[in-house]
Amino acid sequence: MTTMPPRRPTPADIELLAFAQQAELAARDLFAAAADNGVGGEHTASVACIAAHHDAASQAISALIGRNAPQARLDSLFVASRNAFLNDDSFATSAWELENTLVATHLSLLSALDGTEGSALVASIVNAEARHASALAVIAGLSPVSDADAFLTTPADTVALTPEA
């Protein structure tokens, strides 16, 4: 008889989801800072909405793991990307890289999470953040035809974030 996976997050899941929340909060703060700084050209409103998406993701994780949620950003990620996000020349490429990194990170979590509620939530976040990457390829001025890979795939050299890093 096959064992059904648990519905609620296990203690190990909670650690992984807490880390995911920190990464989402760092992304929220980076995009919010970029929008406040007016980067993104004609798409600044979309940049502000992406910040709101990362905030929504962090809140959904918080709702799932309750008081175990750290409610604090992954500061190393924020500090490493902040200057690039505030500069109109580097914003779109850096933001595109960040979204690809988050997609890779969440995909690695999906193979580690036991609970189905956590995996369902992370899958829905991946779906949205993969779309963010394609939108940011537009803002970076890339062509969906001649630069198709930038729109359609996570670069092979993208490294997932890990709690130990």
Partner: protein, 265 residues
């Protein structure tokens, strides 16, 4: 002999015949009843419905079938000449991606001990794809309509993988499945950016400052239509200008999954 005696004799004869006929019919029934309840005649045993368990193999086969639906649609659009230039190139890339995805999910199916499915999902083909292509064939603007259908189908494909992630029992398959699903989502996002380049990310439903909000009605197309991948039905409106028809596409659920017991039927 009076009438009373005659009637009694006839009654006894008739009763004997009835009992004999009943015994004969019972003997023809065969097998007897396990329940011990006598029955008259031969009733065939009821055919049992097969057990339709949703296993990892079922989910992977259904995902593969959906990839073949998408391959079919892009091929039909190409054959009909609906797309040209960059749109045709993009569609060609998407179709190639779906072929890769189909091969990947087929390989995962076999690795999980199942038999790979290599055809379009028959139910989705009959209730979504064929009616939609029929509407596009009679459309005044088949190019726009086929792009709208592609956007809807790619959104549906991404949603399907997302929907299946928590249903997969093997954790390793969840990441692999969503690794394909996120590429479907990127297809949809790229089409959304082509169809609605002015606004990539909708502000609908978001608590953002008024200065970032969109004016006017929401579009049907966005690169990013929400903070999370949705599992809601995907709507697409197609057909001639005087009779536009909205088709609701839903992720393949229990009655449209490709169970292994259906093979050969």
């Amino acid at each position: 002999m009076d009438m009373q005696n005659l009637s009694r004799r006839r009654f006894l004869l008739a009763s004997g015949a009835t009992v004999s006929l009943g015994a004969l019919i019972s003997a023809c029934g065969g097998g007897g009843s396990k329940s011990g309840i006598a029955r008259v005649g031969l009733a065939p045993d009821l055919a049992k419905l097969p057990t339709a368990e949703v296993t990892d193999v079922t989910l992977l086969r259904t995902a593969t079938s959906l990839e073949y639906n998408a391959i079919f649609v892009y091929e039909a659009a190409k054959d009909a000449g609906y797309l040209s230039g960059d749109a045709a190139k993009l569609a060609g890339r998407f179709q190639a991606d779906h072929k890769e995805h189909a091969a990947a999910t087929a390989s995962l199916t076999e690795a999980a001990g199942g038999t790979a499915f290599t055809d379009p999902n028959p139910r989705l083909q009959s209730i979504y794809v064929e009616p939609a292509l029929g509407l596009i064939a009679s459309s005044d603007d088949p190019t726009s309509d086929v792009l709208a259908l592609a956007y809807a189908l790619e959104t549906l494909a991404g949603a399907t993988y997302q929907f299946y992630v928590p249903m997969l029992r093997d954790k390793a398959l969840r990441g692999a499945a969503m690794g394909i699903g996120e590429q479907e989502a990127r297809h949809a996002a790229t089409l959304g950016a082509v169809l609605n380049p002015a606004r990539l990310v909708t502000s609908q439903g978001l608590a953002v400052d008024a200065k970032w909000r969109e004016e006017g009605d929401a579009s049907l197309f966005y690169a990013v239509p929400g903070a999370f991948g949705t599992l809601a039905p995907v709507q697409v409106t197609l057909g001639p200008a005087d009779s536009r028809t909205t088709v609701n596409l839903e992720t393949p659920s229990l009655n449209s999954m490709v169970y292994e017991y259906l093979d050969g039927e």
